[in-house]
Subunit: 297 residues, 2 copies
């Protein structure tokens, strides 16, 4: 099968770099209906062709690339299938293998062939930073689209769903440990021992203080869509008989930070700790900071 | 108050170094009743005086140092109080501030003054590796015991319970992230993408593979007592209105590794992943390894 036209759903911060990585002379089309002005600006800047509606995109495209927040991935596949799309459908989203199966079934209901994908790394602006892992029989056709681009496509050459599993296990540590670290620094703040914790970190865990500051700045603006990803990771572990609680807790923490959506970079760790502790049951001191009650009166 | 005699409960791997750090000429006594042969050998090697029973120790001691697994800390304080001990009682265990309060109340019921402590670092064999954090009014008296020793005593100069809070927040990341990392590598193994995960780690998270190997070797033999500590950390976060699930999950993972108790160093990461996945609901392949069912038949 020759892929002459690719439908990109949607040109978000990550998606626009995926579309830009598609090799020439493949045409990249998208649907502006219902999308934000930021997305329109991004897509125009990248030279993608706006066909207006989802139906127009799927009618024109040989392959559809789904790049969206995990909580919207299944609904998007269903919407595409409803248009009767029977080409190649890539789900490149941060979903569990079980959700990938549901998405595969939804895509197949419209007649499409499914490819499972998982993106690891930041938006693929510079080569070497970002991988698109692929699994399933049709992975080589998709991988060929990205040859010599800033997005390195890697065919895992294993059964469908594996690329999603890999993404879950990878993000489970990077994003899971960031939530863990921020929650523990928040606890130290609540108990009045943040300075003590930072002092001990500086002696035996050099790097953790900086890591907590960076975790706050980088995760807070994206936390609104991490909660869904954490739930997908929790389900992935649960299905393997492993503890799901790490990522259910991370989902709680990121949900608590959803208000930072769209904040410019530069959210401080203090802002994040305050948000994490908002509404907690500890008493507050005269400055409104949460503090534990004295243990021994 | 002059501390002439210290009662050490008990000379475990950590405790023996705490007793050895007590400055001369303070006498260190302990109670061999019900303790293992390993503990007797350790105590004899360190030159501690065996008074046989707990009652004999508390009758002789001006201060009692409790160094034991967290799940036994409250019962030990109650047992000491039952002997009528009215000296200085240090709880140096990995317990939540709330548990520290219970221990304080138990100790006070016998007439003792309570000092809250938390040990961070390995057994204090070499100077510079290990800190004994202390909080509460009587902290300076305790700290003086360890002047110029391999165990650095640090008075946090904040309210009682804070040393426990600091220990919880610190161990919550070191031991919590180790359990998280091992659980995710186990998930990758279960889904057949461990090689893919290690490949991606080698590119974007250098150090994580080694860290998982080290986490397996260092945590597995001690996991039997980490489960209780993780529960204490979960309660610490919960009381501050933060997610408790990280450490409930870590407790599950460590409980699954309890069978490695007493294993010599050198537990492999493969052994640990197998133990974590034991009994999981995934199907098994022809070699008995857990594998997910193919997503797309």
């Amino acid at each position: 099968m020759t892929i002459a036209t690719v439908g990109l759903l949607h040109p978000g911060a990550m998606g626009v770099t995926v579309g830009a990585a598609v090799r020439a002379p493949v045409r990249v089309v998208w649907a502006s209906e219902g999308r934000s002005r930021e997305t329109r600006t991004r897509a125009a800047g990248a030279g993608f062709e706006d066909l207006g509606t989802l139906a127009a995109v799927t009618a024109a495209a040989d392959a559809v690339l789904s790049v969206c927040p995990p909580h919207g991935a299944l609904a998007l596949a269903e919407a595409v299938a409803a248009t009767g799309f029977d080409g190649l459908y890539l789900d490149a989203n941060a979903v569990s293998p079980a959700t990938a199966l549901e998405i595969a079934e939804a895509a197949a209901a419209g007649g499409a062939r499914f490819v499972d994908g998982g993106i690891i790394g930041p938006p693929a602006v510079r080569p070497g930073t970002t991988r698109l892992y692929l699994s399933g029989d049709a992975a080589p056709e998709l991988a060929a689209l990205f040859e010599d681009s800033a997005l390195e496509a890697i065919d895992l050459k294993v059964e469908n769903g594996s690329a999603s599993a890999l993404k879950m296990c990878y993000a489970g540590f990077t994003k899971g440990s960031a939530a863990l670290l921020l929650s523990l620094r928040a606890a130290a703040s609540a108990y009045g021992v943040e300075a003590g914790l930072l002092g001990e970190w500086s002696r035996s865990q050099p790097g953790l203080e900086k890591r907590s500051v960076r975790a706050a700045a980088t995760t807070a603006p994206k936390a609104w869509r991490f909660a869904g990803e954490m739930e997908e990771i929790a389900s992935t572990l649960e299905a393997a008989g492993l503890p799901a609680g790490f990522h259910r807790a991370a989902a709680e923490a990121y949900a608590q930070l959803a208000g930072f959506r769209g904040e410019p970079e530069g959210v401080t760790v203090e802002d994040v700790l305050t948000a994490l502790l908002d509404g907690g049951p500890l008493t507050k001191d005269e400055k409104g900071r949460p503090r534990k009650a004295a243990l021994i009166p």
